[in-house]
């Protein structure tokens, strides 16, 4: 690879340190604000005695339902991730291994691509009317359904890439030995694409946890997810800056945990297909 020497190496190190600082600094500053009283934030004081006041307020005060929101987010992200993995992996296997008529396979893939590219808000209007019609508006079930749909294209495309990397002979050998197609899938192929399942699952969970546009319009106060709650903190008449900071910091915890424990899979998922 490229090797820098002398001054250019120093400049390179300086630039890298600077960019690392720029990435971290906003987060640290906001975390710092979350440990201050409102008046100290407004005065712009830098060093104060830290207080947990904001966190206590966000988590346990009468006015906020943050714990309820976390629970909602957990349910929606967890259930939709499991469902999208099942549906998406089956579909990916089907498209990668079974013989489909060309127009079905091409049509399916093209449609998922188009759907992945249009802004979700174009469909939120009709979703609103449809769910209203069948009485599911403002229910977690409706939100789970939409999140499965939103993450389906990504899951199908990713899992297809993993299945395509497996040589067909493995499965065919198993079938020659007497496995049926379904056993070959369950016993042979599926364990071999486990890394792909984890990568797709982690990303689907994160996207569902972060999703805001649909959740904003299809939930009520009782079913609001974490992003909706954060938005409400900043939309109130009397903006509570400290609570806003505390809620933002709290909402990043799952992402930080995943970064530490699932880093390899996230990088694999995000960069796959782009680098070949």
């Amino acid at each position: 690879m490229l090797v820098l020497r002398g001054y250019s190496r120093l400049i390179g190190i300086f630039l890298l340190t600077l960019s690392a600082f720029i990435i971290v600094a906003p987060f640290l500053w906001v975390a710092l604000q979350s440990f201050k009283y409102e008046i100290q934030i407004l005065q712009g004081t830098w060093f104060t005695e830290p207080t947990l006041h904001n966190y206590v307020d966000v988590l346990w005060s009468q006015r906020s339902d943050f714990l309820k929101n976390v629970l909602n987010s957990m349910i929606v992200a967890g259930v939709s991730t499991i469902c999208v993995l099942v549906v998406g992996t089956l579909a990916a296997y089907s498209l990668a291994r079974l013989r489909w008529k060309r127009w079905i396979a091409a049509g399916f893939l093209a449609w998922t691509l188009v759907f992945n590219m249009i802004p979700p808000l174009t469909l939120v209007g009709p979703w609103f009317l449809i769910f209203r019609e069948i009485g599911l508006l403002q229910s977690l079930f409706a939100l789970v359904l939409t999140h499965i749909t939103l993450n389906l294209p990504m899951t199908v495309w990713m899992m297809m890439a993993y299945f395509n990397e497996l040589p067909r002979d493995i499965e065919e050998a198993a079938m020659v030995d007497g496995c049926r197609r379904i056993d070959a899938f369950w016993r042979v192929s599926l364990p071999l694409v486990a890394p792909g399942l984890i990568a797709a699952g982690v990303l689907a969970f994160v996207f569902s946890w972060n999703e805001f546009a649909v959740a904003l319009n299809l939930t009520s106060r009782a079913t609001a997810t974490v992003p909706v709650a954060i938005a409400q903190f900043s939309q109130q008449y009397e903006v509570q800056n400290g609570q806003m900071a505390a809620a933002s910091v709290l909402s990043t915890i799952p992402a930080l945990l995943l970064m530490f424990f699932g880093q390899k899979f996230i990088i694999q998922g995000l960069t796959m297909g782009a680098v070949k």
């Binding site: 720029i22 020659v176 972060n210």
Partner: protein, 362 residues
Amino acid sequence: MKAAAALATGGSDYCETSSTRICLAREGADEKNRQYSLWCRACAAGAPSAIWCQLMTSAESPAARRALGSITDLLDRHIGWFTLGPAILLLLLLTVYPIINVVLMAGSSIHFEAGQEVWKFALWSNLRELEHDRIFRVALRNTAIYAVASVLIEMALGLGLAILVSSMRRMKGFMRTLLIVPILLPPVAIGSMWKLMYSFDFGVMNQVVTGLGFQPVNWLGSTSLALISVIIVDVWHWTPFVFLILFAAVEGLPTEVIEAARIDGARTYDIVFKIIIPLLKPAIIVAALFRTILAFKVFDEIFLLTSGGPGNSTEVVSLYLYQVFFEQNQLGYGALLSLAIITATIVFILIGYRVKSATEAS
């Protein structure tokens, strides 16, 4: 390796080919597939995989076994529809049907009377409204500016960072770990974090600006600056994504080419601009496409930071859709806008597809 694959997939005669032979041919052929060859070794050693299948169907009682067997038989016979069916059903119910609904809604005006939807035919008035809709045009223009500016800046920064990090001996893993964080944070949290930072009175941005001896800047409140401020947030959020893709590509480049160039006396500048960047072209195109799509869909951050204001200076397409649908309750007209955007997206995909196949052909 290729011979083995051909043996296995070579039409009708693969039934006669014993799996053991395939496995023996495959064994050790591919370093990457060590896991499979482990399995292959097992079957070569006389442990047929049929044992697994028996394991699967061997329930306790014969009756349960028969029931399970018939279910798996059914699944096996119609495996195509059992695997692809759920996904098709989901897409039909939650994307195709709503889009048909969008088409119907686009020609109507919908309002609620006593909890009931009332639909009236209003295609012409909706079209007339679209024709005179100044805000929609502003939103389109802002989205275009936003997408082009943020993607260009992110590509430049991401590419620079990727090459720089790959040239370092240490810090590679550290930088990569650090740079994943913004991608995974909820966009809403990023919006509210930057809203605090942009605050005119106490935000850290103005503390820095006044610390340097300038007048405080009204980041989100001035019509000329708001769009730029929003683009800065987007650059902070998504440059790491571009970096990740391009860094993986840089690490995958053949080192011999660069070594050879250096031995021939090429300068760093030439290596970067005449070797590395041309070799990265496919990855650069993919990263730019991904980012353009995401930039086109932007909603969360802008909703949090400015809600389209001041005036319409940060109004973007998604935000305008939200306002028409859910603040002005014009479901019919909103559907017409959605239809226009969906059509525009499909046209964009077709153009992108042409460009991609054209660059691949050349």
